[in-house]
């Protein structure tokens, strides 16, 4: 799998020197050690416990326009301010759970630049006044991140205490309240909000749950400033983001792009399509489908993709080749999302299961009822404790809209696919 930003012809927003930021240009065998990291980026700036310094750094983050890179794109400064204002010894949780099975960006970032993420976690802790930061990472990169944290402890680099632990398995395990409950009690399922984690989270303390990529950007903003951060990207959505490109492309991998880069250029970073494409899944398995030709020229940003009812989400583009059956792929994803329900809320458990069943019937030429499907989609939307059913409904509604012709064809018992090989795979839940 390729990583980094391949050399491409200069285009607007991709001027030499602006990229790469997060990921190193070359692909190292081992992640950057502490000394190498400090040599590359300089010492992490400290605002310490001084409230003036903290406010200054927070203001810089606000000027930068940094938004969350975990999928919700919530303004980082607003979240930091809310937790800082909540009082009572807040806690920071760096969320590298990456429950989205097709996404690899957080794992790659943690494996290549753990110190950048840890810098960001410590900086966030300083801003909100926390003494502890818990870093939750995928088991595959746990050793590297723990090693990096140990290095920092030995050098007494940080005032805040860093604790590294493994993330839970599962799609909803990365949701903010689920991460909190996982850290606190080992149960990775969401809890109802109210109360929000920024008010009452880990052990009842105000908790900042921030994606690891967001924290890495924070670490760079603290050093180089808001103006530097805004040199790339768009005005409304500044900075770079990591994107996982997967599916029918020549070199699937994780790439760093300026936000607003045209979709076809992002696909180009991955070597371009390996076969002619019919559709793209944007944002994640609970994102939105889009016609490949329609999406190609659009900027990969919330604003750019809005006309298609899609968004960058957690930074994912999955390319669907022309020969695959769109409805079978959708049905498989729907079954996965239904199985990944935490099982706590009736409308999600029963609704998504029934919806997945109906889609499977549609995909495989059995009798199905699209009116009933639409009714169930409306009943599942927004009726859980978390946004899991909402995401599934969004993905499926976009499929029914973009693939309406195929749905009509299937209703008559025909399918236009030329290959029955599955493209988007979904992991099965392991036992235990």
């Amino acid at each position: 799998m390729m990583t980094g930003s391949a050399a491409v012809p200069t285009e607007p927003g991709r001027q030499a020197g602006l990229l790469p930021r997060l990921l190193p240009g070359r692909i190292p065998a081992e992640p950057a050690g502490l000394r190498e990291h400090l040599a590359r980026h300089g010492a992490p700036p400290r605002c310490g416990p001084d409230p003036g310094g903290r406010r200054q750094l927070l203001a810089e983050v606000e000027r930068s326009g940094l938004t969350g890179r975990g999928g919700a794109a919530f303004p980082a400064a607003r979240k930091l301010a809310a937790v800082a204002a909540a009082g009572h010894t807040p806690v920071v949780i760096a969320n590298g759970s990456e429950g989205e099975p097709a996404s690899a960006k957080d794992k790659v970032l943690l494996a290549r630049e753990p110190h950048l993420v840890l810098d960001g976690a410590v900086a966030a802790a300083e801003i909100v006044g926390a003494r502890e930061a818990v870093v939750v990472v995928h088991p595959a990169v746990l050793a590297k991140v723990a090693h990096a944290a140990a290095e920092r402890r030995r050098s007494r680099l940080d005032r805040a205490r860093l604790r590294v632990m493994a993330a839970a398995d599962g799609f909803v395990a990365g949701e903010a309240t689920a991460v909190v409950r996982w850290v606190q009690r080992g149960i990775p399922t969401p809890t109802p909000t109210p109360p929000r984690v920024s008010e009452r989270g880990l052990r009842g303390h105000p908790t900042l749950v921030q994606n690891v990529e967001t924290l890495a950007h924070l670490a760079l903003i603290a050093r180089y400033g808001a103006a530097w951060f805004r040199q790339i990207g768009t005005n409304a959505e500044p900075g770079t983001m990591l994107v996982t490109v997967t599916g029918a492309v020549r070199h699937p991998g994780v790439f760093e792009i300026g936000i607003g880069t045209p979709v076809r250029d992002v696909l180009g970073l991955a070597g371009g399509p390996s076969v002619p494409l019919q559709a793209l899944l944007l944002g994640g398995y609970s994102g939105s489908w889009a016609d490949a030709a329609a999406a190609g020229p659009l900027p990969f940003s919330a604003e750019g993709l809005a006309p298609l009812g899609a968004g960058p989400g957690a930074g994912l583009i999955a390319a669907l080749p022309g020969g695959a059956c769109r409805l079978a792929e959708t049905a498989r994803l729907a079954a996965y999302l239904a199985a990944e329900s935490a099982g706590q809320c009736g409308p999600c458990v029963f609704g998504l299961a029934a919806i997945a069943g109906e889609l499977a019937a549609l995909a495989h030429g059995r009798p199905s009822n699209l009116d009933r499907l639409a009714r169930w989609l409306a009943q599942a939307d927004g009726r859980g404790a978390c946004h899991h059913p909402d995401g599934a409904v969004r993905m499926i509604r976009s499929a029914l809209a973009v693939f309406s012709g195929e749905a009509e064809l299937h209703a008559t018992g025909w399918c236009s696919a030329t290959s029955s090989e599955a493209v988007l795979t979904a992991p099965r839940r392991g036992a235990g």
Partner: protein, 73 residues
């Protein structure tokens, strides 16, 4: 902005027992699996007492009456 009472269901606590929809069919209907759909959370004054009954009688204590504020504009 005026203070309004709002009816909210906790989806984790709710088990689809259905007493609430029997008591206030004006506000709550059941979906295809027996779980409550609250169409408009604002409780009309005339239904306040019934809403309080529903909150008390919910076997899972999943219904909550809360003071909400109607958004301006």
């Amino acid at each position: 902005m005026t203070a309004r009472t709002r009816l909210r269901v906790d989806p984790v606590a709710c088990d689809g027992r259905g007493l609430c929809a029997e008591l206030i069919p004006e506000m709550i209907i059941l979906d295809d699996w027996g779980f409550p759909v609250i169409r408009d959370a604002d409780v009309p004054t005339a239904l306040h007492a019934l809403a309080a009954d529903a909150v008390r009688l919910c076997p899972r204590l999943a219904l909550h009456l809360e003071a909400g504020r109607r958004q301006a504009g």
